[in-house]
């Protein structure tokens, strides 16, 4: 009797205490990502939010192991457990190994931010998608092209047969991003990483692309890691949300939970800095987060937010908080919460 692997039950992808370091010959090493815990559920969307430079994209690229040669993963695990294969720790694989390359593009694929420059300018759209299908599956070029055309049709590109022979510069930004999505879906991945896929597009196109992604997720049943700094987009698309600040994931949970009862002071600050539509009389001044994001070099030893946190206290700057369960599927790294959970204690 064939054994059903345990993997099919648990999360699809788990990042555990991941750190990523960039080294250069001239400067001290930069710890771009210090502490990332993420859990991706099968078929669900996790939105990874945070300011520019907090390490979102680096984390995403680390999952595919397409970081620069200067980057290293000194600690942590990236456990990928697809339905029909043994779980594998991606962090230990050689980036150019066959094991990694059969995951990359095939089981985990990625959409990038800039549809203008993320497609090769000298190859047709069809060529670039065909290549990926032929690479991962035993099909003839002709079969690959038929599938490419079907994919282009599915992502809503009009005249897919002709457009397959078009070059990226002959398409609009929205169409290019659709072509990019078609490429990412071409091998029916278990996980789709979308790195700010709508940032470079105008608002109407943005909404169409989000709808398309949601629709495709229903059709394909894949999980999605959606990277963005736009909380509106998060609310629209995500099942779970993880908040990242300066290389640390500070809070992860169900999107309704996190939006309704944000636990970490940084998440709360983020929520209160969203402009609201209000009548003139009821308008309040926006409350921006005090201070600026320090560079990773000046990151506090303890909680990275402690240098700007309005409620920081004794251990925050020195000791890194452990994740605390603050609800079903909801985890937060904050000393305040650890404290609050102890009975009989009062924080001033």
């Amino acid at each position: 009797m064939p054994q059903i692997p345990m993997a099919a039950e648990g999360p699809l992808l788990t990042l555990d205490d991941l750190s990523i370091v960039f080294s250069s010959p001239d400067e001290a090493d930069i710890v771009a990502v210090r502490q990332v815990d993420l859990t991706l559920r099968r078929g669900k969307t996790l939105a990874l939010v945070g300011e520019s430079g907090c390490g979102k994209s680096v984390t995403a690229r680390a999952i595919l192991r397409i970081l620069d040669k200067s980057a290293a993963i000194p600690s942590g695990q990236i456990i990928f457990s697809p339905d029909d294969a043994e779980p594998v720790d991606i962090a230990t694989l050689n980036p150019d190994s066959i094991a990694m390359r059969t995951i990359r593009g095939n089981r985990i694929s990625m959409i990038f931010q800039e549809p203008m420059s993320s497609l090769s300018p000298v190859h047709t759209i069809g060529d670039q998608i065909d290549e990926m299908i032929i690479l991962h599956e035993r099909v003839t070029p002709k079969q690959a092209r038929e599938r490419t055309i079907a994919l282009l049709d599915q992502v809503g590109i009009p005249g897919p047969r002709e457009r397959a022979d078009a070059y990226p510069f002959q398409l609009s930004g929205g169409l290019r991003q659709r072509a990019m999505i078609a490429m990412a879906l071409s091998c029916n991945p278990d996980l789709l990483i979308a790195d700010e896929p709508t940032t470079a597009l105008d608002v109407t196109t943005q909404a169409q692309i989000l709808d398309l992604l949601r629709q495709l997720q229903d059709d394909y049943g894949m999980a999605m890691l959606f990277i963005t700094h736009d909380l509106g987009v998060v609310a629209e698309i995500a099942d779970d949300v993880a908040v990242m600040y300066l290389g640390d994931v500070v809070e992860q949970g169900d999107v309704f939970d996190v939006f309704a009862t944000p636990q970490h002071p940084y998440t709360r600050a983020l929520m209160s800095s969203i402009p609201k539509m209000q009548r003139k009389a009821e308008r309040e001044r926006l409350q921006p987060i005090q201070g600026t994001v320090p560079s990773p070099k000046d990151r506090p030893q303890g909680c990275s937010f402690s240098s700007r946190c309005p409620v920081a206290f004794e251990p925050c700057a020195k000791v890194r908080p452990d994740p605390t369960r603050t609800g079903k599927q909801h985890r937060t790294r904050c000393h305040l919460i650890e404290r609050e959970l102890k009975p009989g204690e009062v924080i001033v």
């Binding site: 390359r101 059969t102 694929s109 990038f112 497609l119 090769s120 300018p121 000298v122 991962h136 510069f169």
Partner: protein, 330 residues
């Protein structure tokens, strides 16, 4: 594409016409003419010249006529009869003199270009991909040495070493017994055994430059997001590099093919003199110093024509490999 080629052909004809005018004007620019130089040479060696003989010669060559008449005679001769005029110094039609020389030039410098590309491109790609590695530094050192050492010096050193160590006399393109022979397998072998040295010398500076250019181009391209996209597909690293950024980085290099030939011909003059190569360079130099105007003019014109044809070829290749150029006009 057809329209592109036709419009290019038309502008090519106009360019060549302009080149012929300029070439003819340039060889007329120095004061005096072939006969003045001739007289000066004769008097320098103590000979007396009868002015009437000179006058008769001037009449015969049509040197006293206005510029435009001389130009018209020359050009109409070329167009109608393929007659490029008479070389004063050699006393023979220019066409008899140049083809062999020009053929040697094209052959030799063409080989140098091929060697350059075959050596430089892989090294350039390696240096860019492994930036700041030992290999990159070695390529850089080799590159700057190649750039800094003048070609003729390299030729001299090579000839000296060849003679001192192996007793080989380098120079010329053919052994004496093959000099005037028809092309045969043996002659090709003989050519190759003689030509490797000049080809090596001619290729060094260009190779060094090409390595630097390829490295810089590729470094720019490697940073582009489409390379990351290609990597994210799961392609092996070498295929990512060769198929995407290298392909794009080649474009600016392809567009330089057109200028390579004339650059090589003019830069190879000294090497050709040093190594006694029967190419067009030394002939052009000599014809310019003696004001042998039809010979000089023809050589300049043909070099111009080669440049124009080279540019057309590189444009066509460029349009073929880069769709942005192919569709740019639409």
């Amino acid at each position: 594409m057809l329209g592109f080629i036709i419009s290019r052909l038309i502008s090519m004809v106009l360019t060549i016409w302009a080149i012929s005018l300029v070439a003819f004007a340039i060889i007329q620019l120095p004061p005096g003419d072939y006969l003045t130089t001739y007289v000066a040479t004769l008097s320098a060696s103590g000979d007396r010249v009868d002015p009437r003989v000179i006058e008769a010669l001037r009449e015969q060559y049509g040197l006293g006529q206005p510029f435009i008449v001389q130009y018209w005679k020359w050009v109409s001769g070329i167009v109608t009869a393929g007659d490029f005029g008479q070389s004063f110094e050699w006393g023979r039609p220019v066409t008899e003199l140049i083809w062999g020389r020009l053929g040697n030039s094209i052959l030799l410098e063409g080989l140098a270009v091929i060697v350059m590309w075959f050596v430089a491109l892989p090294i350039g790609v390696y240096a860019a991909v492994n930036k700041y590695s030992l290999g990159d530094y070695l390529a850089t050192i080799f590159g700057f040495l190649g750039l800094a050492i003048p070609n003729f010096l390299f030729a001299l050193v090579l000839m000296y070493l060849g003679y001192a160590w192996f007793g080989v006399v380098m120079g010329g393109l053919f052994s004496p017994q093959f000099e005037g022979a028809h092309w045969s397998f043996a002659r090709v072998l003989d050519f190759l055994s003689n030509a490797w040295a000049p080809v090596l010398v001619l290729a060094t500076a260009g190779t060094a430059q090409l390595i630097r250019v390829m490295r810089a181009n590729l470094l720019d391209e490697l940073r582009k997001p489409y390379v990351t996209t290609a990597r994210a597909k799961g392609l092996p690293e070498w295929r990512v590099i060769l198929k995407y950024p290298v392909r794009v980085a080649l474009n600016p290099l392809v567009s330089t093919i057109g200028w390579l030939l004339p650059t090589l011909v003019s830069s190879s003059v000294i090497v050709s003199v040093v190594m006694n190569l029967p190419t067009a360079g030394p002939m052009l130099l000599r014809s310019l110093t003696t004001q042998d105007m039809y010979l000089a003019g023809t050589l300049i014109l043909l070099l111009g024509v080669l440049t124009v044809i080279g540019t057309l070829i590189s444009d066509l290749i460029l349009a073929w490999i880069d769709p942005r150029i192919r569709y740019g006009g639409e």
